[in-house]
Structure formats: structure tokens, C-alpha cells
Symmetry: C2
């Protein structure tokens, strides 16, 4: 290999090793770390972030990237793309002073702790000082990156390359109107019967075993991944392709939500586990953007995981497992399950929302975030702003802060500007699902028989294997021959619910 | 605070944060990491060790420590001891080149993987090349530290300050004779009935819950610690006092061994959790030596955990838990339990050995290690050497390599010279037990009623709280007014078994 490339990849490898270590520190904090370890962990994360920042912005690395970037025409396509992505990341991070990175990391870690307590105690004042600091540091962050651009656009671009808040506002404005109409038409009037799984004895250990069976059936490779129990479900990759962790929440004792949450994270995990091995050493050995990532999790969660075929296959598996545990025959009613998991109605909690109202939760957060970043925003008004948006767009007002403004982990982690990618993912999921089901007209009977290979192969070939090799826009165009638009998603929802 | 002290403690804190991160990488490798993450983890550990080595041997830190060391007379006792311990560690580590540290760490990580496979497949040849490298690197290590001293003495001194192989050989030579006699006298002749817990349905999740109850009753603080499931039990501290992890093996499906193993690690954990908060920032915020540490784990495992009073309290707890699980009344026979856990007989597996024969396993390993480090030692002869020692000292010959030379994790981690500290710990446990029970003559009835406060307070006050403030020898002298000797242990064993 070319000497410059060799140097670049050896430095990049160090950054990836340190990045993976930081992810482990975070993952452990969520899954196993005892309560009193928080302060130490927060110091650890700050120090490791500082070390990584120093290494990934030092002269040696800057020189390695710039040298290759200047001769990118001579590089083969894989090396060229790797250098391009590195250059983009580098240009962002050399703008951040090391002290800022350390401070930001430390505040986020403490904010996360405050958020957990605040949510538990339904008390915004516990989280308020941390959130206030997070907002301030976020603006400072955006200013460091590009003081001439709107804060929100800088943040968005981190998650979804090239996306502008202007575009998002346009897409969401149309979606808001379409959804309002659809929600009014298809909302359930009778009260939700959430008892479809009432006959099984809910127990974290047993539910975990069933969920593991489901993950294996769909295609998760436990040689390259594991699971974790967390407060709020998420997927994290500790080593590209080889160490992918799907984390689930069993705490709300609701079997259906546990499963749909797990299947959602599985969608992320399958993407990360199935990137082509030839990209492992590169800077793009992961899903290409949050939106595309979310399209994979939402498609698996909704289009597949909430379909009748899916449950027709898994219900007997679940029945058998739980019957064995209690030595009594347990029988589940598939109609009740379908009613429960596809029950449409405005509600407070985003992650428990049905797939019709879900995007309204995102639009609310997007609009709240735009306000939050405005100069002179009074943070004391945040809970009221949140509630008024729910009133306006979903016609309901949260009955507690924990079920309102305190429900999501994102802001405590500094992830402002992240929410819109959820809806962008839903929109893309609609388009990919349309294409997949037109390529495989017998998809439904395959799933009904527990055969997920068609799904697995199609998405592996078209999406997962590419990692970040193509830019998001190009990846979409390659597969669909068109840009992103919300038509397919609306058609899918109308077909299913009207 | 004095400027030099402030500098020293701020650098020391970084080292401790990085050390804790390395411990987490290792802990995760043992508990949760998927199989294919091994190579990446090995690279991560190597890189992190290199970073820590660089930081803990750079000019800034060397200057900080030496400046304070030179004016140690002016320091208060806590700062003075912290500087003394740091100086000792520093003198050792500046002798190791960074490349050696990285290589050594990498080899150990790969060796560990090879050992797991070798043990599983009962095939020494899988582990042999790694072990050979470990032996070579160990000798190299000792040469870097002090080329003029016997390799084994350099290694021993790492674990037990000031201890010489000459002393160990002397102690072990006497112990070997005493034990041979005692084993012949008290060995059970009838076959072991290992079925005392046969009526409970062994299930990892359920056993774990019972063990957690036991740990809580004895005094483990889950706000400052957690548990993990591992192949080979161990305790690890990720953050002094505040994040202590007791790891247990449930794999052999043997309830009695699961519990005694857990209680053993709990002994280590209680020591680490109960060090005085005022020492948290120092270089000695941990147990003072491996021998003293082991005295705490062995005392809790054997003197308490294998006593009738202990089981008289816990048997009803266990019965109730498992009866509830299966809706049938389960009844355990305490005589059968006592016979099972105190069954004395020469056997192959050290960690399952009874407390009488246990030290013979250590003496064997000590003698094997002395051979292993001799120039010209032929590693192909290691399994045969191992077996012949078992024949000579315990009168039995291992029936497989997994139950023989491949049984322990230690060598795969580079820990040669570590084994003797187990027996030094047993000897000290005998002395501390004699003192504790003469201070509290009603100890037996307290334990029988599930009240561990006497035990907890005595050991917290006399041993745990001090961390590494006193040198091992001084700590022992402070408590006992005498040096270490094996009389108390032999008296305890004779009283219990003859």
C-alpha cells in the first residue's frame, strides 16, 4: 500500500479504537454501572473524548488526510471515499477547542444523570440547569463549526449530510396537514384494550429469552453482537461489523412494546452487522446517515413487526415458550394483538406511539427545538411550549412532565437536531418498502412461515452492505431511481388503516 | 493545597481514569463482548495500555513524583504514603519500554482467547504457543525491572511487597509436610454425595437472584457495585470504592460451588467498597496486597461460608425462594449440605478444592512455576510436570488437560508468581479469624441469625478501611501484634476436621 495511505489508516484505526472505547464507557453506564460510579464515569468520558479529539486533530493526522485529499483523483474509490469522509469530519472537529470538547462531554454525562432523576421524579427543575447548559454549549458548538450558518442547519448537517431546516420545514408542513387529516379519519374511538398478552406472566428474564429467539430468527448474529437491558432502547456499535449491541427496555412490563422496541433496534443492528467486510478499515464502516439508519429500524418495526404475517409466525413460538415455563397451556388471540399494536390514537409518549401519529411527535419536537435555539428563549417556558404543541397538533395535553417534555433521552445527550431524522427515516422506509414488496410479491407468505431471508438479502444487498460508501442521496437514487418524498409512506398508511 | 501536590494528584487522577477504562474493557470482554469482537478488543487494550504507560511515565509525572518524594518529610502521612506508592510503581514502570508494554498487553489478550479454546477443547497445543510467548515476555519483564535479581522474586514483589521466593519456599516446605499428614488423616473415604441441592431446579437467572440476596445480607452495596457472569470468577474495581464488580460463574450448574465462589469474590469486593473515602484520590485506594486481599476472600468463603451457622441462616431463604418458583415445597438437608461443602479429598480442580487440600494445589503451581522459568525449560513437558506433581503431593493424576494444566486463567493473563499469594492469604485468614473470634465469642449465633454486622464492622475497622495506607507487614502487625505464620490456620483446620 502507498505510504501515505498506510499512515492514514493506521491513525484512523487508533481513532476507531478510542471511539469504540468511549462507546463502551457509555454503554456500560446505561446497562451495568452502579449508581455511584457516575461522577467517575463522567470524568472518564471527558478525558477519553479529550484524548480522541487530540489524536484526531493533531498535525500528523491532519497532514495524512490533507495529503491524500489533495491527490484523491489517484485513489481507488474505497480509499477516496474514506478520505472524503475523514476530511469532512476533520474539518468539523479541528474547529472545536480541546477544552470545549472535554467540557461538553462532561456536561452531557452529568445532564444524563440529572435527566434520569428528573424523569423519575417528574420534576423539570432537576433537569433544567443541565439542559440550559446543553443548549448554550450546542449554540457554541454550531458557532465553532460555522458561525455564518443557522444553528439548526449546522446541527442537522451532522446527522443528515446536506439537509437544511428549510427543506425539513417544507416536508413537515405538508406531512403535518396530510397526517392531521389521516389521524382524524383512522383514530380508534373505542378505548385501547392493551391486554393481548395478559395471559403470559411477564418476567424480564423470560421475555428476554423470547426476544432473543425472535432476533435470531430474523437474522441477528450473536457472534457479532449482544443485547443489553436499558432504560431507553438504543443500538450501539463498539467495533464496526463485529460488535453490535442491541439494547432493550423491559421496564414498562408491556410485552408488545418490548418486542416492537427490540425489533426497531434490531433494524439498526442488522444494518451495522452486515456492512461489507471490505469497508471495515475505512472511515465509513457504518450506516451512512441517521435518516437511512432510521429507515431500516422503522421498516422492520412497522412494515414487518406490526404486520399480521409476522405475528402469525411468532405467536405459536411465544405460546410454546411461556406454556413450558408455567406448565399450563397459554393461548394468545391474534386479532387482539393486531388491534393492540396497530391501535391508532393520539398519545403522549413518542416511543409508544402508533405509526400514524408517530411523525406528529417528531414535528412537535422539531418545532420546539427551533424555538429552544432562538436568542432569548426562556427555558422556564419549555414545558408549557411542549404541552401547547401537543394540544395544537395532537389535540391532547400531557398529564405529567415525565410523559411530556422529560420523556426523551436525546437532549440530555446533547442531541438537538436529531429528531427530524426519525421522520425522514419513516418517509424513506415507505419508499423502500414499496420497492421491496414490488420486487417480492410473495413477501407476506414468506414472513408468515418465519422465513426472513428475502427481506434479509434484499436489504443487505441494496442498503446494508454499502455502509457509508455512497452519500445518502446517491444511495436512495441508486435503489429507487428517485429522491425522497412522503407519497409512499402515506399510501402505505392509507392502505393499512383506511 | 501545595502546587506540587495538586499537580501530582491531577495527573494521578488521569492515570486512575485510564486504568479504570482498561479494567472495563477487560471486564466487558469476560462478561458481554461477542466472540468476534476479540481482535478489536485486543488492539484496544494494547492501545490503551500504551497511552496509560506513556502518561504514567512521562517527564511531567516523573518530575511531579520525584519533587514530592524528595520532600516527603514535609508531607502529611496520607500524601506521603501516596507519593511513596507512586514512586515505587513509577520506578518499576519507567524501566519498561512503551513497545514492550503494548506487545505484552496484546499477547495476553490473544493468549486469553487461546486459553479459553484450549480448555474447551482439552488441547494444550492450542495454548502452548501463547504460553511460550508469555513465559518469554515474563522473563523479559523481570529483566527490565531488575536484571540482577531472580526472575521469580521480581514477580513476587509485584504482588506481595518484599516477599522472596526463599521465604515462600520455607513456608511452603513446612506447610507441605503438615498438610500431607492432615490430608491423610481427614480425607473422606466414602464417595462424595454432591446432591445436597439436587431438589432445586438449577437455572442461572434464579440462582443469580438468590446469590444477590446473599450478597446484600452480608453487606455488598449495590449502589457501589454490580455483578457479572463470567467463565472464571473474579472481582474487579473500575473506580475506587464506588464501582466494584463481583463476577460469578454459573456455568458448572453446581449450586454449592456457585455460592462459595460468589462469597469468595464478595470478600474481595467488601474490601474494595469499604476503604475510607479520605483515601479515594490517593495511589493506595485499594487493598494493600494480593495476600491480604486473599485473606479477606478466603476467610469469608471458608471460615464463614462453609460454617454450619451460615447455612442454618441461608437454607430457609433458599428453600423459600425456590419453592415459590415452582409452587412446590422444597426442603434441603443441612447435614447433606455440610458434608458436601466440607468434603475433604484430593481433587484436580483448584477452585473447587476443599479448604484442607487447597494449599497443596498452590504449592504444586508454585513448584511448577519455578521450573517453568528455568533456562532451557521445555514447554512440551509442562502437562507431564503438572501431572507428576499432583501424583506426588496429592496422590492423584488429572484425567484431562482441562482438569489439569489448562484449568486456571492466570498464566493466560501473564500472572506468573501470583499463585503463592493465595496460600499466604489463607495463612493470614487463619490468624485474623482467630483474633476476630476471640474478640467476639458470640460470632456463631450472630451469623446463625443472619446478622453479619459484627463481622462487617470488625473487618471494616481493622482491615478494609485502611486500603493500602499501611504496608502489608505493618497492617498485620497492627492488628495481630505478630508476623504471618501458619499455626493458626493449621489449628483452625484441625479443630474443624479432626
Amino acid at each position: 500500500m502507498d505510504k501515505d495511505l498506510k499512515k492514514y489508516y493506521s491513525l484512523l484505526k487508533e481513532h476507531k479504537l478510542l471511539g469504540g472505547t468511549i462507546s463502551l464507557l457509555q454503554w456500560d453506564q446505561e446497562t451495568k454501572m452502579p449508581h455511584k460510579g457516575t461522577e467517575n464515569r463522567s470524568d472518564q468520558l471527558a478525558l477519553m473524548s479529550k484524548i480522541l479529539h487530540e489524536k484526531s486533530t493533531n498535525k500528523e493526522y491532519v497532514k495524512a488526510v490533507n495529503t491524500l485529499f489533495d491527490k484523491q483523483e489517484d485513489l481507488d474509490p474505497i480509499d477516496r471515499r474514506s478520505v472524503e469522509v475523514s476530511k469532512r469530519e476533520l474539518d468539523r472537529s479541528i474547529k472545536l477547542p480541546a477544552e470545549f470538547v472535554e467540557e461538553y462531554s462532561k456536561i452531557r454525562s452529568l445532564a444524563h444523570k440529572a435527566w434520569v432523576t428528573a424523569k423519575k421524579e417528574n420534576d423539570f427543575s432537576i433537569f433544567k440547569p443541565s439542559l440550559s447548559k446543553i443548549i448554550g454549549l450546542t449554540k457554541q458548538y454550531a458557532d465553532y463549526i460555522d458561525a455564518g450558518t443557522e444553528t439548526y442547519d449546522v446541527l442537522l448537517d451532522d446527522y443528515e449530510e446536506g439537509m437544511k431546516s428549510e427543506d425539513v420545514t417544507e416536508i413537515f408542513s405538508k406531512l403535518k396537514i396530510d397526517l392531521k387529516e389521516l389521524i382524524e379519519e383512522v383514530s380508534n374511538q373505542e378505548e385501547k384494550d392493551a391486554n393481548a398478552f395478559g395471559s403470559i406472566e411477564y418476567d424480564d428474564d423470560n421475555v428476554e429469552r423470547v426476544v432473543i429467539k425472535m432476533l435470531e430468527t430474523i437474522g441477528f448474529d450473536f457472534d457479532k453482537g449482544t443485547i443489553g437491558r436499558v432504560h431507553h432502547p438504543f443500538e450501539t456499535t463498539l467495533a464496526a461489523i463485529d460488535d453490535v449491541r442491541v439494547n432493550m427496555s423491559y421496564y414498562h412490563k408491556d410485552f408488545a412494546s418490548t418486542v416492537t422496541g427490540a425489533i426497531h433496534e434490531l433494524g439498526h443492528g442488522l444494518y451495522e452487522q452486515n456492512i461489507d467486510e471490505k469497508y471495515k478499515h475505512t472511515s465509513f464502516s457504518h450506516g451512512v446517515s441517521l435518516g437511512v439508519h432510521e429507515s431500516q429500524s422503522r421498516l422492520l418495526e412497522n412494515m414487518i413487526g406490526r404486520s399480521r404475517a409476522f405475528w402469525e409466525y411468532f405467536v405459536p413460538v411465544i405460546e410454546e415458550y411461556f406454556s413450558d415455563r408455567v406448565n399450563t397451556s397459554i393461548s394468545l388471540d391474534i386479532d387482539k394483538i393486531m388491534n393492540q399494536i396497530n391501535y391508532v390514537s393520539p398519545s403522549f409518549i413518542r416511543i409508544e406511539a402508533d405509526e400514524v401519529t408517530y411523525n406528529m411527535h417528531i414535528i412537535i419536537r422539531y418545532e420546539v427545538e427551533l424555538e429552544m435555539l432562538k436568542p432569548g428563549f426562556n427555558i422556564d417556558e419549555l414545558p408549557e411550549l411542549w404541552n401547547s404543541k401537543y394540544k395544537e397538533l395532537l389535540g391532547i395535553e400531557p398529564n405529567s412532565l415525565s410523559a411530556g417534555v422529560l420523556q426523551d433521552v436525546h437532549w440530555s445527550m446533547g442531541s438537538i437536531g436529531y429528531f427530524p431524522t426519525y421522520s425522514l427515516g419513516n418517509i424513506l422506509a415507505g419508499q423502500l418498502w414499496e420497492k421491496f414488496t414490488s420486487d417480492h410479491k410473495d413477501y407476506d407468505s414468506k414472513i408468515r412461515s418465519g422465513d426472513f431471508s428475502q427481506y434479509f438479502e434484499w436489504f443487505k444487498t441494496n442498503v446494508w452492505a454499502h455502509g457509508g460508501f455512497y452519500k445518502p442521496k446517491d444511495l436512495v437514487k441508486n435503489i429507487l431511481g428517485t429522491d425522497m418524498n412522503s407519497e409512499s409512506l402515506l399510501n402505505y398508511l392509507k392502505k393499512k388503516y383506511i
